[in-house]
Structure formats: C-alpha cells, structure tokens
Amino acid sequence: MSYSNKVKDLYVNQLKDIKSAGIYKEERFIHSSQAADIEVEFPRGSDLKNVINMCANNYLGLSSHPEVLKAAHEGLDTRGYGMSSVRFICGTQDIHRELENKVTEFLGTEDTILFPSCMDANAGVFEALLTSEDIMISDRLVHASIIDGMRLCSAEHDTFKHSNMEHLEQKLQLHADKRIKMVITDGVFSMDGDLAKLDEMVKLCQKYDALLFVDDSHSSGFIGKTGRGTHEHCGVMGKIDIITTTFGKALGGASGGCVSGRKEIVEMCRQKARPYLFSNTISPVVVAGVLKVFEILSQSTERRDKLENNTNFWRKGLSDAGFVLKEGNSPIVPVMLFNAKLSQDFSKDLFNLGIYAIGFFFPVVPNGQARIRTQISAGHEMHHLEKALDAFIKVGKKYGILGLTKQEIIDKYGL
C-alpha cells in the first residue's frame, strides 16, 4: 500500500474546502421509526430531541405503518431473511414475481422488473436498451441517477430546458435522423415539486416518433386521483413507454425500485441491465412490506386524499404568512430563501424549535435559489402542521422576510 501523505493531504484539503464552503453534509441520527414525530441525536453524542419531521419522502405515512410492519414480520417467517443470490441464479422467489405483477397492475403498464433501488433501475435501463445509433433527450432537472444511467449508455444525449415544450420540440426536430429517440423526464421534480407536462410530452413523442421515459419516484402512490402517478394526473395512463419508480419513498420507504412499461422493454432489461444481473434483488422481507403497501393503497384513496388536504393547508398557511414558495401541485413545498447561508441558519433555528427541515443550496439547486424544501406527509396530523407553521413564521419574522418579494429578499441577504 502506498497511502502517502500526498494522497491523504489531497483529501483532507478537499474536505476542508467543502467545510469552509458551508456545504459539508452532516448526518443526524434518528433513534425512532420514521414518522411525523421522530427522535433525533444531533450533533452526535447529544441528548435525543423530539422533532416533527418535515423533510422525509414518507408522503403516505407508510414507513412505519403497523400493517406494513406486520407483513414484514410475516415475510421474515415465511420467506427468510436474504436470498444470497441474483435473480437468474437462485435469487427469485414467487413473491418477487407477485410484486412485479402488482406494480404492473397499479401503474397500468404491460410488465415490471424489480431493481435493488430506483438508482440502479435508472443506472441500468438506458444501456440495456439503446446504442450509439440512438439519442436520449432529457429534461435538465432530471434526477442524478438518470444522469448516471445516461453516462453509462453509448447513445448520444442532449437536454432541453426544464419543462420547456418548445425547446423539447426543437430538440426532437434536431435529432430527427436518429434511430431511436427517447425523451426522458421526472414525473415530479424533486427539488421544485412541479409536475412534468406529460400530456404535451406524449403528443410531441407521437408527432416525432419518440419513446417517453418517466421517473415517477416522487409521485407513485399519491399523484393522480387514485395515486397511480403523474401519468394518471395528466390523463396519459398506458401511453408512457417506460416508468421507473421507487419503493423507497411513499411506498413504504425501505428500499427497491423498478422499471415498468412495455413488455419487450422489461424483457430486455431482464437480459441486459447490469445492476439487475449483477446484484441481489429486493430482499423478501421488504417485498412482503411493499405488497402490503399496494394492498392498502388499492383499498382506499384515504391516505393520498389526506396528503392532498395537508398539502393544501400547508401551502396556504405559508403563502398567507408571506413566504415566497415555488408553485407546484405536489407535497414538495419549497420555501424560497435564495441565499445559501440564510437557508442553513433558517434550518438550524427551525430545529431548535423542534422542526426538522433541511436547507438546500448550490450545487443541489441552482446558484441563488437556496431554499428549505418541506415535504408533507399523510402521517402529519393538523397539530403537527400548525406547530410547524408557527415555527416557520417565528423564524421568518426573526429574519424579516415575511411579505418580502424574491427581489427584496435578495436585496436584503444577497445571493
């Protein structure tokens, strides 16, 4: 080994830079189940603090739902703990196929293939389907895992301005000569909470003979009247060629993802997608939990309806109080602060008031667009939201930003 001081110093200095730029990520240790009320140790070694969680992807409040826990217990009893193998050797149980069928039915697609995570689904899907004769045209704000997937694929790639249909059309015209054109977007964009214009995108894809790919990780289970996702909301169910999504957010939140869509596309992924071929699939206990999640969701829309009501209350409350919000239709409600340091200070003050919400800043969001991203859950009761709102208003007053416009906040705190 030759871990010289030269190597070590390089990393030490880079870490120092990250810290002095104020973008060092520190983890907070949660000692309880994921829920509206959680017990947090932060900083490490300090006493546990009870806080209201406003930043989980636990949209439907199912991460520690008693029925899901019960199903996981039973899954451990009947299916054991691990598979110790990949799918095509000896790592496939009947419940894996059952879950694939369940997802297909829920999303209204032709077939589904499970992956260890949606990150892996996105990382593997493009290379399995496309070659250098093809083109991937992606929205500029798609998730990092899609970008990694595209980087691993030899097809050409191009991007279009966020949700800008004219720009997308220009790009479809520009690349008209390519064998296969695939348009790639998130269903709900994770940092802004806005929805892709899937109805318009379907039309454009039909006009220019392109495939449409949607990552619905931040929508499956709650967007659309019955929670099927962005395609349901936009009235284009059955018209999306490829949907990827995760079980790691609303759908129980443990782990796992999938590619769902056209039959041959799924079949090709089973033969060629590297993270599928070379990694264990979702463990049986997690599968058992997700199966229960789908059962709960197909029984009633109560949870997504509650989530919608909670979101409306929260959005209106913040807006009435005079915060600048990103417009949107999802339970992701970004409170815009623009200045990176302000977003961190704001988050810290909220934490002291018992509210857990994280500030995001460049490079996670564009420069000068720092924000607190709040995420609403069906697990939130009115008293949680009221307490959180009080805290936001208190901190907002402290920094004197209530009622200010974007420009006024920028004038006050800089970018």
Binding site: Y59, I89, D148
Partner: protein, 396 residues
C-alpha cells in the same frame, strides 16, 4: 411511437435466445437454505447460492430484523444526509470497521453501488486505475464513471500488473483494483505480491471482498487475513448480500479521509436510500455472531475441503480454489448445461456457466459450498455428480 422499437427489441431478444444466452429465472417458494422448494413443489439441495455461512435463513438474524422492525420501523423514506440515517446505520458502520481493522466505513444500498460510486469522488483524469480483467461488473461500471486513466492487467498476472504500474508512473495517483476472490474460478488475488508491487510503484490498493468476506481466512476476515495484511489495503468493498446474511447492502471500508470524501461526494450514497434499519440490525447481529464464535467459518472450510477432495478423487477436473467456490470444469458448453439439468433431476441445484460469462471452451459448473450444508447434503451431491458424471462420461 413504440412500434418500430418493439420490432427492434423482439429481434434482439430472438438473437439472445438463439445464442443460448437467454436467462430464465427459477422461482423459489421457500426461504433460501441448503434445501429449497421450487414452485413445482419439488425440493432440491442448493449448491449455487452465495449463502456461504448459511445465514440467509438464520433465526438469529431474523430475530434481530424483527426487533428492529419494532423499534425502528420499516423504511427510512430518505437518503442518509437528509433524514435517512438511523443509529443502527452508524453502529453497523463501526462494527464493520472493527471487523476488518479499518478506520471508517460507509454503507451503500448494495455493493454494486459501493463499487459504482467509489472511483469518481476520489480520482480525476490525472490519476490511474489499474484493474484486473476479471473484476466484477460493478467495478467496471465504477471505473467507467470515473475520468482516471484506465489500465487492465490479466487475471492475477503479476508481471502484467507490474508493466502497467510502470506505464502509469506519470499519473498523480495510482490505485490497483482487484476482486478478493474471483467469482467464476474461486481463486484469490495474490495480495502479498500486489502489496509488494504497490509499495514499489507507489500505488494504493482496493480489494472487493464480496466473495471472500466471511469466507476466506481462518476467521473469515477476507483475503487481508489470508495474506496477513490486515489494515494494509487502503480500500475494501464488500456486500451484505452474500455470506453476511444475503439480504441486501454493501459497504466501503478503509482510510478515514477516503470514507469521509465518499460521504460527501459518492453519488449512489447521496442519491439513494441506505439499507433499511432492519437490515442494519441484522448486520450488527451477524458481526457479533462471527466475533463470538468461529463455528460457521470452520464448518464452511471443512465442507469446502471435503467436497473438493472427494470430487478430485472421483476424477473431476477442479480449478484450484482458496474460497468456497468450486469450479467443476467441463469445457464444453452443451455438456455443462446437460450435466446441470441431469443433476437437478437428482435433486441437486447447480448452474452451468459458459461463454461469454467465462472464456470460450471453458464451460463449467460452479458449485458454491455453504456452512448450512450438512454432511448428508454433501454426500448426496457428490454421489449425484459421480452418477451423472459417469453416465455422461465426464469421469471413469
């Protein structure tokens, strides 16, 4: 919009099938164990799982997982740096560091992700990665995502490695990357020689212990134990999806600053949930079990040498192995498939591997031993190999 593409995919799929490479999945209706139940109701002995220590259905791990379900719920619904870190994650990271004698550890959703997200945060186009040609697909993908200059050397070939190292002296940093155990042959990387070359040519060393952690070395600490090189490599990656319980999850363990950098910059870590708390809890229990007693490792080592010796005595051509992987060489692809199919009729589940998974004309059956195999399981498998081997004239 989909019609042309459908036609294209169908023809591609036909090609895969015609080449005999179409992967079909066998569906299991029971927990993973030495004996499993297929959906047609038949029971077979499993000799193709990575269930080396037999922990996939371990009551101890299941108990730990259940307790964590009760105390920490089912999912975290978040990534580590937002609100997806539980105290169990931290505890497991510390346990893994202790187990390997390293400075710090970072968990990933899978070892595929650990390897996929390892290189890009650490190395740039000024650096060099020198990688064994037989390294796992996930290492290859990780290297593809990194801008560092790539060098490949023939499997465990130290002369070739040395020439690549010499060629890479212009680069700022160099790292030698190798699997601990190569999954198709079962041979271990010659770590002592690799370390000597690393010293001579000022390179770091990364070992993927996925098939060796829990398996290789007297107490299952992997190839760093086998070569008496504990804490001498900079980076170890490994999986919780094989010997260590078999559910899911991976890790990178090694130098403190490296792990710290990965926590800040490694994309699969930043953009994907970690393992669920129940898997972390079972991982903690697993390491405790392996520290309390060496029974499982001992049994695995016994089973492996018993099986390899008996098979060699019968006249089978076995690749030299220092792991729990025993490659029974058939060379001919059709013969390997035939033998595997006939063994399944005898209640023995093994898989034939052939080109392009292994080199042309090197078809084989890969047998994977487990501490869960009882003496009678081994004897039954050996007997079946003997019977079918004679019928197919593989042995006299």
């Amino acid at each position: 919009m989909y019609t042309d593409f459908r036609r294209h995919l169908q023809s591609e799929l036909n090609k895969i099938e015609e080449a005999g490479l179409y992967k079909k999945e066998r569906i299991i209706g029971s927990p993973q164990a030495a004996e499993i139940e297929l959906t047609d109701g038949s029971r077979v002995l499993n000799f193709c799982a990575n269930n080396y220590l037999g922990l996939s259905n371990s009551p101890g791990l299941i108990k730990a997982a259940k307790e964590a379900l009760d105390t920490h719920g089912y999912g975290m619904s978040s990534v580590r740096f937002i609100c997806g870190t539980s105290d169990l994650h931290k505890e497991l990271e510390e346990k893994i560091s202790e187990f390997f004698g390293t400075e710090d550890t970072i968990l990933y959703a899978a070892c595929f992700d650990a390897n996929g997200g390892l290189f890009e945060p650490l190395l740039t186009s000024e650096d060099a990665i020198i990688s064994d040609v037989l390294n796992h697909a996930s290492i290859i993908d990780g290297v593809r995502l990194c801008k560092a200059r790539r060098y490949r050397y023939e499997n465990a070939d130290m002369e070739d490695l040395e020439s690549r190292l010499a060629a890479a002296q212009e680069q700022r940093f160099r790292i030698i990357v190798t699997d601990g155990v190569f999954s198709m042959d079962g041979n271990v990387a010659p770590l002592d020689k690799i370390l000597a070359l690393a010293e001579k040519y000022r390179a770091m060393v990364m070992v993927d212990e996925s098939h060796s952690a829990g398996v290789v070395g007297k107490t299952g600490r992997g190839i760093t134990e086998l070569f008496n090189a504990r804490a001498k490599v900079e980076i170890i990656t490994g999986t919780l999806g094989k010997a260590f319980g078999g559910a899911i999850g991976g890790f990178t363990t090694g130098k403190k600053e490296i792990i710290d950098m990965l926590r800040q910059r490694s994309r699969p870590y930043l953009f994907s949930n970690s393992i669920p708390p129940l898997v972390a809890a079972a991982g903690i229990r697993m390491i405790d079990m392996m520290t309390e007693t060496n029974d499982l490792q001992d049994r695995l080592h016994h089973n492996t040498s018993y099986f390899v010796n008996r098979m060699s005595e019968l006249g089978f051509d076995i690749k030299p192995t220092q792991s729990a992987i025993c490659a029974v060489m058939l060379y001919d692809a059709r013969l390997a498939q035939e033998l595997a199919a006939r063994l399944l009729d005898e209640g023995i589940y093994v898989i034939g591997f052939y080109y392009p998974v292994v080199p042309k004309d090197e078809a084989r059956i890969r047998v994977q031993l487990s501490a869960a195999h009882e003496q009678e399981h081994l004897d039954k498998a050996i007997k079946a190999f003997e019977k079918i081997g004679k019928e197919l004239k593989v042995i006299q």
